[in-house]
């Protein structure tokens, strides 16, 4: 699977999109994420594993306590995603160009 495939797969689930949305604001602990999204800790940890494997998030130890882990977003996969969105918008831009040419040719006042 390509990086974009893994990113798309990781984000195909509403819970994982919720995690991304929460982490967008600040890094959080797994427990906080589970609570915010009303999930059991084991279920959340499975989602976090998918997100980690896709490279969308990374874990970090908070302070000196190795037992406390926080999750944060990684920038790289989002760049690939952003290029993909730009393709989406390019599709519509291309249709709108075709629309403008046709409309101005047939209805334009000169």
């Amino acid at each position: 699977m390509s990086e974009l495939d893994r990113t798309l797969f990781a984000l195909s689930d509403p819970t994982r999109r919720g995690v991304v949305d929460l982490l967008r604001r600040k890094p959080r602990r797994a427990g906080e994420l589970a609570e915010a999204l009303a999930m059991s800790p084991p279920a959340m940890s499975r989602h976090l594993r998918v997100l980690r494997q896709s490279g969308l998030v990374e874990e970090d130890h908070e302070g000196d306590d190795a037992r406390v882990r926080t999750y944060r977003l990684r920038q790289r996969p989002f760049r690939a995603l952003r290029r993909w969105v730009e393709d989406v918008e390019a599709f519509w831009a291309s249709e709108l160009d075709a629309f403008r040419e046709h409309a101005e040719r047939t209805r334009g006042k000169r």
Binding site: L8, V88, F91, A98, F99, H102, A103
Partner: protein, 162 residues
């Protein structure tokens, strides 16, 4: 859950708001691009039809060996000529109950009209949607913007903040 805008694109057209709305809808087959990236018909001959009015359909017909095939893109869910309309937007790999939304607005501006398309609603699609898996290049390009118009702005903001 995730709020924000959808994937969007705009164009300024030097025609009146009424004409812009009319051409966009009634004459869609005349301007909508052809080929596998833009139509289900692909390289076959086909036509796109837009039925105006609430509940009207946007659909494509094309010829196959066994006769004429019809693919319905979606139904009109808001109809406010010449300012705005909204329709459901299905891509060929969607299940019957899966759809996204395309909103088109027409704003009179100076010598012409600003036309804006906003495509959203991906988050409502089923889990594990085959947005990419099993789709070949052209079909994937057509299935652009699958589930997540709403997520997009969020992501774009995220990238911009870095």
């Amino acid at each position: 859950m995730i709020s924000g805008d959808a994937a969007a694109a705009s164009v300024f057209v030097r025609v009146s708001q009424e004409d812009a709305f009319d051409v966009f809808t009634r004459e869609i087959d005349a301007w909508w691009k052809t080929g596998p990236k833009f139509r289900v018909a692909g390289k076959r001959r086909g036509r796109l039809f837009f039925e105006g009015g609430l509940g009207g359909r946007l659909f494509e017909t094309f010829e196959v060996a066994s006769g004429t095939r019809t693919f319905e893109v979606g139904k009109v869910t808001a109809w406010d000529p010449p300012r705005r309309m909204e329709l459901e937007w299905r891509i060929s790999n969607f299940a019957p109950d899966e759809k996204t939304t395309v909103e088109v607005t027409f704003e009179a501006m100076g010598e012409g009209t600003m036309v804006t398309v906003r495509h959203r609603g991906w988050a409502s699609l089923r889990k594990g949607h085959p947005a990419r898996h099993g789709l070949e290049g052209a079909a994937f390009a057509r299935s652009i913007g699958m589930w997540w118009g709403e997520l997009m702005t969020s992501l774009r903001e995220h990238v911009a903040e870095r």
